[in-house]
């Protein structure tokens, strides 16, 4: 049990590092996927090792929904990235600051 949660913690920390350091918008999206997966590992591990009152598979159902939402997020995110690339000729997030002020 503890092993799986520890692995998820390491994966999430790596994802945080990626989100904060990447300059490329696609790189940020990829790091986000790592963090989603870390959360999912936790859900499935808790589902296996800890009995809840509301049935035995709630954690896995939750994980399935997370996968679906992550897929939707990736689709919309990459569409936005393509649009930004068309308008700015680059996807360097340091340069995309028109909404900052």
């Amino acid at each position: 049990m503890g092993h799986y949660v520890a692995l998820a913690g390491v994966l999430f920390a790596i994802g945080i590092f990626g989100v904060l350091t990447r300059r490329n918008a696609i790189g940020i999206l990829m790091s986000l996927e790592l963090m989603f997966n870390a959360a999912n590992i936790n859900f499935v591990a808790f589902n296996k090792y800890i009995l809840t009152s509301s049935g035995t598979l709630t954690g896995q159902i939750f994980a399935i929904f997370i996968v679906v939402v992550a897929a939707a997020e990736a689709v919309v995110g990459l569409a936005i990235v393509l649009l930004i690339y068309r308008n700015w000729k680059g996807i360097d997030v340091d340069r995309i600051n028109v909404m900052k002020w």
Binding site: L20, T21, M30, T56, Q60, A63
Partner: protein, 179 residues
């Protein structure tokens, strides 16, 4: 410090006890590090695929066979291909001189390290209330399908609407003006 040293023999015993898990965990962490540090974004995408595939292995270890299949189909199949498409359409791969990281690397490293230490401390200091291993139903997938169609039917429908909205939104966003 001595406390940590005491844990080492136990750790080695754990590794010998669960070789498959530790192999998967090693590959996951190594390739996830590659994803966030490599310069060539295309290589990052390939390592992301490896990471996601190994996470599917973790799901199988946890008796979540359906989730492992979903992981391979959606993440390894769909999301990764989408990422690679986006990379092909946007960045110039040949120019490796493009700096992929910004100047926040030190601060970001500290934040990530702080989170890592906090989560690991919380994880190993907690005594988990494990009531033995929960006996998951023998036929996992059948129970999952029944749950999705009975108890969780409302979230299921909401998620389908979300997917439809994402589909339409992506088409509207990526469409060229005036066409």
């Amino acid at each position: 410090m001595a406390e940590i040293l005491d844990l080492i023999p136990q750790f080695i015993a754990d590794v010998a006890d669960k070789p498959v898990f530790y192999l998967l965990a090693l590959v996951i962490i190594a390739s996830a590090l590659m994803v966030v540090t490599l310069k060539n974004i295309f290589h990052c995408a390939l390592f992301l695929i490896l990471t996601l595939f190994m996470v599917a292995g973790i799901y199988i270890l946890l008796h979540a066979e359906f989730l492992a299949a979903v992981q391979v189909l959606i993440y390894v199949g769909a999301v990764s291909v989408l990422m690679i498409f986006a990379i092909m359409l946007t960045t110039r791969l040949a120019s490796k001189k493009i700096v992929q990281t910004n100047e926040q690397a030190t601060v970001a490293g500290l934040v990530a390290l702080a989170f890592l230490v906090a989560s690991q401390l919380a994880c190993w200091k907690t005594t988990w209330m494990i009531t033995d291993e929960v006996s998951l139903p023998e036929n996992n997938i059948m129970t999952l399908g029944k749950l999705l169609m009975t108890d969780f039917v409302l979230p299921f429908e909401v998620v389908s609407i979300l997917l439809l909205a994402a589909l339409i939104g992506a088409v509207v966003l990526a469409r060229r003006e005036g066409s």
